[in-house]
């Protein structure tokens, strides 16, 4: 079946969408970020690690709602309590008691934190972190790694239009893992740095992922301390996938603020900003609000998700599934003569080809896998969930073997 027939409904929905929605589908889910015509544009339903698109094609999913799924789509142990809470009200005049439970639980889990506030999107959390850091330090600038994504706000550069340039004036960037460059940036801007944003490891789009230099966090802490700046760990993508006490523990970082989101409630909309004791007074003095920020259902879902993660084996299980996938895909690639390489931590893998930095092979491989019922993003890292099993990984590797062979034969 060719792409046109296979994704006919997706395409006709897209044509309708284009008339009433800018871009048809905007942002990171725009067809142009995948391989247009070779992937579905609309998804109809999901369960566990499987999903069905608008045309009825089925997939094993490795994007997990861009990381928001960690214990599986439609997990009854999460959805049950969430639906029960919904039946008694979600968005209330005042917070539901569960907000206290969740804050206590997060503070107990995330090593070094002593308070938590809640919002909806990761961007809400990073934006509040930036504001808090500026107020706390009375300094204007933030530093981040070039190519790092901290959200869709103007200050962190999601829309680099000239008319918005003044919104970006507060942010400087350095090349990830370039410790000398980071030192220089601090030195050149002494007395002006409010915070340093780091993701636990570097996960730029279109590029292999990079683990932190062993000296990165020690250097970052030292530079922040000397400057009186805050170290912000943007753990939105990692979010308990890398360590049950926060990704910083895995890499030996000692942040002042933590941004969390995505998988926090297995897809229910909630993000969080956590802080160390030294930032509490500033947070106390801040006006922090949003109509939906205290809705109860996602908080119940977050509690249930943490329980479910523990029950299903947590990080060690994710890690072993990820390693299985890594070994399987790399060796399937080698069998057909491809230098396919998985980068990043095993639970958040990304595949690139050593011989093809321009990603033509990624695009062919992604399209060949989508055709075979496996959804792997060609340009953005993937996610393993606790709903994936050894059999799903084995099926994926077997499809990959076929895909690599077809690519080698020039058929796809």
């Amino acid at each position: 079946m060719n792409g046109v027939e296979r994704y006919e409904r997706s395409r006709s929905l897209f044509e309708r969408a284009a008339k009433v929605i800018p871009g048809g589908i905007y942002g990171s889910k725009a067809p142009g970020f995948l391989v247009p015509g070779a992937y579905p544009y609309y998804i109809e339903s999901t369960k566990g690690c499987r999903m069905r698109d608008a045309d009825g094609n089925e997939y094993i999913d490795y994007l997990c709602g861009y990381g928001s799924q960690i214990v599986g789509y439609g997990n009854e142990r999460v959805d049950g309590p969430a639906l029960e809470r919904a039946s008694r009200g979600d968005l209330l005049d005042q917070p539901a008691p569960v907000m206290v439970d969740l804050a206590e639980r997060l503070v107990a889990s995330v090593e070094g934190s002593s308070w938590a506030v809640f919002m909806k999107n990761g961007t809400d959390s990073t934006t509040l972190a930036y504001s808090l850091a500026r107020v706390r330090t009375e300094k204007p600038m933030a530093i981040m790694a070039a190519g790092a994504y901290h959200g869709a706000a103007n200050w962190c550069g999601a829309n680099p239009f000239a008319a918005l340039a003044s919104d970006r004036e507060g942010v400087l960037s350095f090349r990830y893992n370039d410790l000398g460059g980071l030192e220089r940036l601090f030195a050149e801007n002494r007395g002006r740095i409010a915070c340093l944003f780091l993701t636990p490891y570097h996960h730029p789009t279109f590029k292999p992922q990079e683990l932190p230099d062993p000296a990165l966090y020690e250097t970052a802490r030292r530079l922040c301390d000397a400057e009186g700046a805050l170290l912000v760990m943007d753990d939105i993508r990692g979010n308990f996938r890398l360590h049950s006490r926060g990704s910083h523990v895995r890499f030996g970082a000692k942040p002042d603020l933590w941004c969390m989101g995505k998988a926090l409630a297995n897809g229910y909309p909630i993000s969080a900003l956590l802080g160390a004791e030294g930032t509490r007074a500033t947070a106390n003095s801040f006006f922090i609000t949003g109509t939906y920020w205290m809705s109860a259902v996602p908080m119940v879902a977050a509690m249930a998700t943490m329980d479910e993660m523990e029950r299903l084996g947590g990080v060690p299980r994710l890690e072993s599934l990820g390693l299985l996938l890594k070994e399987g895909l790399e060796s399937a690639g080698r069998e057909s003569g491809f230098g396919a390489r998985i980068s990043g931590p095993p639970a958040i893998p990304f595949l690139t080809f050593d011989e093809d930095p321009d990603l033509y092979l990624n695009q062919r491989f992604g399209a060949a896998m989508a055709r075979r019922g496996v959804f792997l993003h060609p340009h953005h890292n993937w996610f393993i969930s606790l709903a994936h099993g050894e059999d799903d990984i084995a099926e994926t590797v077997s499809r990959a073997r076929e895909a690599f062979a077809a690519m080698r034969a020039g058929r796809e």
């Binding site: 589908i25 391989v35 247009p36 239009f161 970006r168 990603l359």
Partner: protein, 270 residues
Amino acid sequence: MEKHVDRLSKGEAATLAGIRLATTAHLVAIAAEADPALRAMAPKRPFALVLSAPGLPSVGVSARGGRFRAWSRSSADRGGRGWPSIILRFTSRGSAARALGGGKGMPLPLPLGLGAPAALAFFRAAASRVPAILKDGAADPPLKARLLTEAALRGLAEVAALDEGLEERLAHVPDGSVAVEAGEAFSIGLRKTGRRIEVLDAAPTSPNARLKFRDADAAVAVFSGARPAVLALGSGEVAISGLLPLIQGLFAVLDRLGEYMAVRAGERLE
């Protein structure tokens, strides 16, 4: 951006002038190569006609042995220029933008050789033939597509070089080469290095990215602005592959070019 040339800022008028100069020269050369009626009108004697405006690199069209060539800042090589037979000098960038956009204004002709009058007459005829081909519903789609693509790529090079507002954006777009193809209609390319964009006569053999239109009509739809690129992408009329941040970054520059191309020069400003 203001919609009339007389309301543009100095910088915007300069950018628009750069776009109009380069696209005029290159489109005249392509139309002359492709259109038998125009070829028949071409002077027998080789000529080179230069267009210039203060503060902008000059552009030109030349004819020799039945072949037409144009040059501008985005030309990949310096060949085919020849000694100018005539220079058309605009007194200001604003007047170049206005006159080449169909509004009032005349350049000062500076004849430098015997072929000057014939070269000027031919250039005038060819320059007015280009919009006529583009408007003509019955015109050959591959030629239309080729002209619009040329206008887009040459315009892209000018906006990238001249519009200060794009400096930061371009700094985030990776350098590299792109093959631009439309079915059987044409296959050309470009190379981006910093803010410089060179347009290549043939698609590079190992481009960093490919932009492939399904056919000439798809290229016409996108480059005439009738079909937004993101929608054409989603619907499969155009395919992109390889280093996508390079193409997507250039799409953003094309959007900016679209704003300049929408600036009117013809009607009087009230």
